[in-house]
């Protein structure tokens, strides 16, 4: 009995350590954001909200936030449509080079973001495209597509084809099977795919650095430009805002769809 409770204690300590290790950076940054002094230091000696106020009022951050939202909304939505189409094709049809396409689309990113950004930069220059939103969005679509595709593809695999057959036998033409059975049952997969894409796109820095201009720079790029000149806690404040927004999105997804389902942990029957 004694050795068992000791084991449980050790196990609990291990879990606490791992959690602490994972949460540590976030914690440090959060605390640093409330420092009243104009340096990034830890732990802070006195507390203040002033860096939040400064970050929110700072024009580059405002523009970066707005640009980021535009790029994220466009890129994840386009990626969702394209990714869902590819996922359907991979799941339902047989065609030449299917294996190859599957490998390319589903493999974890082999090509670094750096390379993708550089590639789009060269391409954009080649076709004489100004460095507008189009290039940034296109670049982000490529970056997040595998994640959307994988999410929808897994949901499709878990969808019992007999549900669609049953609907057809009951008189539903293909389009109505899609709208009344397939899409509603895929919704958690579609939402989670979009959500992952949105979070990745909104946080993406490396490739964005290449393809954005002063006019289209996203928030991470704006932060980078800021940190090259200043080192005050307003960046930490922005980080805290980031964490809060992402957590809010995930909580909303959990409330409306169930996080287990969204993250495809629970296999739908």
């Amino acid at each position: 009995m004694r050795s068992q409770s000791l084991l449980r204690l050790l196990g609990g300590a291990a879990v606490a350590l791992i959690l602490g290790f994972l949460l540590l950076p976030g914690l440090v940054v959060t605390l640093a954001a409330f420092n009243s002094r104009a340096i990034l230091s830890f732990p802070p000696e006195s507390w203040s909200w002033r860096w939040f106020a400064k970050a929110i009022a700072y024009e580059d951050f405002q523009a970066g936030f707005r640009n980021g939202l535009i790029v994220t909304a466009c890129a994840s939505s386009i990626a969702l449509v394209v990714g869902a189409a590819f996922a359907f094709a991979l799941d339902r049809y047989e065609f030449r080079l299917k294996r190859a396409l599957e490998t390319v689309l589903l493999s974890p990113l082999v090509v670094p973001h750096f390379t993708i950004g550089l590639g789009f930069l060269i391409l954009a220059a080649q076709v004489g495209l100004a460095r507008g939103y189009a290039v940034v969005v296109a670049c982000h679509v490529v970056l997040v597509l595998p994640f959307v595709l994988r999410s929808v593809y897994i949901s499709l695999r878990n969808l019992d084809p007999r549900l669609e057959l049953a609907a057809a036998s009951l008189g539903a033409p293909p389009r109505r099977v899609l709208t009344t059975i397939t899409v509603p049952l895929l919704l958690p997969g579609l939402v989670s795919g979009w959500l992952f894409a949105a979070i990745l796109s909104f946080n993406e820095f490396t490739a964005s650095l290449f393809v954005t201009s002063q006019r289209t720079q996203t928030l991470p790029v704006a932060l980078y430009n800021y940190v090259r000149e200043y080192a005050d806690p307003s960046m930490a404040a922005v980080s805290v805002i980031y964490i809060v927004v992402t957590a809010t999105l995930l909580i909303l997804a959990n409330v409306f769809l169930g996080l287990a389902k969204v993250l495809a942990v629970e296999q739908p029957r």
């Binding site: 019992d160 057959l165 036998s169 009951l170 033409p173 109505r176 059975i181 049952l185 029957r269």
Partner: protein, 383 residues
């Protein structure tokens, strides 16, 4: 296993009328239907006529083609050749959603995101029927399967048996031309299965709906069906009422797939019109001659006898073979008696004796004489 030629013999009783009658008197008519998947032929030139109001069972081992046949009738697959008609209408190229078919799957395939009422009413909504009418017919259908009052539940809140009833109600509420049942009972436990079988049969008879039922469970087929089509290797081996299938199997496959069978080595003595005589041990046994076509006098044959076709001989004169009791297993109403008999292909035969005759009378090792009941055996040429 019989030769392909033998398998072909069983098809004609249903085939010839199909082309001329156009299936007018039949709920479902298949004419020379072939379906291939790559190099495998799942169904090979199958013709089948299902009568109005009939419960037809497609029985066979897994992979025999019975589910393919069901999917062809449903319209989920298209045949490579041949024609399919439902209620006299040619359906070969008609998509599933215009075939007026009710189908019940093994896992029920209830829509998980819809309530019970929405599941049952789905087919009616697709037909753009007025809301009040839908509600009325859904209520009727739920009452039919004895689940009135569960309208607002979700499928996952129901037991397996309840889910099955919902699936049945959903399939029946559209008043289908034919009800297709794909191994519907295999996921239920034994007790529930038996009561659901009785209930399904009652509902089917009450509504007079034509049903095609797919199963690999021969006892289920025998107890439920009006007629059984025994399928193996993509062909119909025999099509008949359950009693004929059980007592007069047309080939070795049917004989061994359905029910328990004792196989005994015998010799063909004479073919006399429709009756053949074979010699088994000390006895001469009359069997139908049609399963011995082409056999010559003196050929070895295999005699198939059901356990209830064998009995302990009262006297030596009646005995056909002798053997030593190997085991007796008390089964309540009867006793399974395993007897080692030299003529048996597997070395032993199974007898069912009434348990009131007393188990203790024949302990293992007892030598007993075994007799054959009249009209209880069929013979096939030795494999």
């Amino acid at each position: 296993m019989s030769s392909p030629a033998e398998g072909k013999l069983s098809a004609p009783p249903v085939a010839p009328a199909s082309r001329t009658s156009g299936g007018e008197h039949f709920a479902v008519a298949l004419d020379g239907v072939t379906k291939r998947f790559g190099k495998t032929t799942a169904l090979d030139d199958v013709s089948l006529m299902v009568r109005r109001g009939e419960l037809m069972t497609l029985l066979g081992p897994s992979g025999c083609g019975k589910t393919t046949l069901l999917n062809l009738v449903a319209g989920f697959l298209t045949p490579d050749s041949g024609e399919i008609a439902i209620a006299g209408r040619r359906m070969t190229d008609v998509p599933a959603y215009r075939r007026e078919i009710g189908i019940m799957f093994q896992n029920y395939a209830l829509f998980p995101h819809m309530s019970v009422a929405a599941n049952v009413g789905y087919g009616l909504r697709m037909r753009r029927i007025a809301k009040a009418e839908i509600a009325r017919r859904v209520g009727e259908a739920l009452a039919l399967v004895k689940l009135a009052g569960l309208e607002d539940r979700k499928p996952r809140q129901l037991s397996g048996g309840q889910q099955q009833r919902i699936a049945l109600a959903r399939a029946l509420v559209i008043r289908p031309q034919v009800l297709l049942l794909d191994e519907p009972f295999s996921a239920l436990d034994r007790n529930l299965r038996a009561s659901m079988q009785v209930e399904l049969k009652e509902i089917q008879r009450k509504l007079g709906v034509t049903a095609i039922f797919v199963t690999h469970d021969q006892s289920e087929a025998l107890s439920l069906s009006d007629r059984i089509a025994v399928i193996a290797d993509g062909r119909i081996r025999q099509l008949d009422i359950p009693d004929e299938i059980y007592r007069h199997p047309l080939d070795r496959f049917v004989a061994s797939f359905i029910g328990d069978a004792n196989v005994l080595r015998a010799r063909l003595e004479r073919i006399d019109g429709a009756v053949a005589t074979v010699v088994l041990g000390a006895a001469r046994v009359a069997v139908p001659a049609r399963t011995l076509q082409g056999g010559a006098v003196g050929d070895p044959v295999d005699l198939f006898v059901r356990p209830e076709g064998l009995c302990v001989a009262e006297n030596e004169a009646a005995a056909a073979v002798h053997g030593l009791v190997a085991a007796q297993i008390y089964q309540g109403g009867h006793i399974d008696l395993y007897v080692e008999v030299p003529q048996a292909v597997s070395g032993r035969v199974l007898l069912r004796v009434p348990s009131h005759e007393g188990a203790s009378l024949r302990p293992p090792g007892t030598r007993i004489a075994i007799a054959l009941a009249a009209d209880a055996a069929v013979a096939f040429r030795a494999a």
